[in-house]
């Protein structure tokens, strides 16, 4: 039997992880990456590998994230061995830091609820003096926080590079500058994918992981893929001697010494600019958290758009009208990279069943006329 061809539209973290997972299982894989005109969420995010507080409104998502977090060390090790590229994973735990007792109490309740519902997502609440033992640089405004032993961070750019190097290593074909504008499904003969410049490709299977560009393409193969954007602004300091030993929700120090301060979460459509008021807000918040940052010089600020579904949880969906076509929308491309490779890649290339209880992630949930959604968790 000749091998089926899988085409993944989207070469960002989500598409590349799925494609890598399929290629490593022996699927014949092609990745079509749009190029620099795309809103490249994978190149602008905060880099946390994070479980704590995820899935407060969807236990299946908390479980999914928990499993992804557990598989991360393996992915990191494998990519390093296969490609020599270090994705920068440090997973020694991470902190959420709060500025008011009320905020801290809310946090404690949320984490307790998730731990009860899902199981095995332990956490530890700490007051200021306990926090100080782990993060000596915190200022007096930090009244308390939570610690998740499983949390960590990675270098998103190196992860993306590692995945692409891995694709190359596993014999997948990556075509850049392919701005896909049309998809056609032919009964019994698969899909025809066409790019703006007229190039086209035949494929037995099709995964749409096109981030913000997904909705229009999805419609063409009978998939409903509603997506909105959220803008995250981020500040970067000059490289400094290590002084923040654990990643936090407000700032993290990279292995190279830069402190990344983030991030906003703004609903501003397709506007990826930075704004003075948000930069000021981020800088103030960072200095309230780690006062010595007042002496640090900023070298960069950016805004990046990330895809978000109406309820903030991912969509993983197989097309009923056009068997062999799938859509994926997900906000946490770094955290979920491991499980996208291990579970989604094999599923969407037809080499494994869908993970259990995966109906939860179908996009039909947004079609219920009586439901209302918020992605402001």
């Amino acid at each position: 039997m000749s091998k089926e061809q899988l085409t993944v539209v989207g070469g960002g973290l989500v598409g590349a992880a799925i494609a890598y997972g399929a290629a490593r299982k022996g699927a014949k894989v092609r990745v079509l990456d749009q190029g620099d005109a795309a809103f490249r969420a994978s190149r602008g995010n905060f880099g946390l590998v994070w479980l704590s507080s995820k899935g407060g409104g969807m236990p299946r998502y908390a479980r999914w994230t928990r499993d992804a977090i557990r598989q991360w060390p393996e992915l990191h090790k494998e990519l390093l061995e296969v490609t020599g590229v270090d994705s920068g994973l440090e997973q020694n735990g991470g902190f959420w830091l709060g500025f008011s007792e009320k905020e801290v109490e809310k946090r404690a309740n949320l984490l307790a609820k998730i731990h009860d519902e899902v199981g095995d997502i332990p956490f530890q609440m700490m007051d200021h003096s306990e926090l100080k033992q782990y993060l000596p640089g915190i200022g007096p405004k930090v009244v308390g926080g939570s610690f998740g032993a499983h949390d960590g961070h990675a270098n998103p750019l190196m992860l993306l590079r590692a995945l692409h190097a891995g694709l190359n290593e596993k014999g997948a074909e990556v075509i850049t500058g392919a701005d896909v504008v049309d998809l056609q499904h032919r009964e019994n003969s698969g899909f025809i994918v066409t790019a703006r410049d007229g190039q086209s490709w035949k494929s037995d299977r099709l995964v749409l992981a096109a981030g913000l560009g997904i909705s229009k393409l999805a419609e063409k193969v009978g998939l409903y893929a509603p997506v909105t954007t959220t803008r995250g602004q981020v500040l970067i300091t000059e490289r400094l001697k290590p002084f923040i030993p654990y990643p936090t929700n407000k700032a993290r120090q990279t292995q190279e010494g830069s402190v990344q301060i983030g991030s906003t979460s703004e609903d501003v459509g397709f506007d990826d600019r930075t704004t003075t008021d948000k930069i000021e807000w981020l800088a103030k918040r960072a200095v309230d958290t780690f006062p010595s940052l007042a002496n640090a010089r900023l070298v960069r600020a950016w805004g990046a758009l990330r895809p978000l579904t109406p309820d903030g949880y991912p969509i993983y969906q197989a097309s009923e009208a056009c068997p062999g076509a799938y859509a994926v929308i997900c906000h946490s491309g770094v955290t979920l990279a491991s499980i996208h490779a291990s579970a989604i890649g094999p599923w969407m290339s037809g080499l494994a069943e869908a993970p259990e209880e995966f109906e939860t992630f179908r996009s039909e949930r947004f079609l219920d006329p009586n439901a209302s959604f918020t992605n402001d968790h």
Partner: protein, 94 residues
């Protein structure tokens, strides 16, 4: 005017950047890389690459391609990353 780099005096023309002055004077090792310790020298000469960092008059991690020479400047290599406490010395510098 006279500036010093790593304790050695250099005669340099006024009005040029510290990076230009040192390069013209034969200096090549400006700083050491934070990641691999390799010696580094100015690259872009226009303020974007951060390869030209030096300690100038006690203030660490200054972009020497953006700073004009001044008589009596004492300049040292920037070895590794600066400590935030030391940067404090540079508040209100110039």
């Amino acid at each position: 005017m006279t500036i010093s780099f790593e304790g050695k005096n250099l005669e340099v023309p006024a009005g040029i950047s510290v990076a230009s002055a040192l390069l013209a004077g034969g200096a090549r090792d400006f700083r050491s890389s934070i990641v691999g310790n390799a010696p580094r020298a100015p690259y872009c000469m226009m303020g974007v690459c951060f390869e030209c960092l030096l300690e100038i008059d006690g203030v660490p991690a200054r972009q020497s391609c953006l700073i004009t020479v001044r008589d009596g400047m004492k300049i040292k290599q920037q070895l590794g990353a600066p400590e935030l406490e030391d940067i404090n010395a540079g508040v209100n510098h110039e």
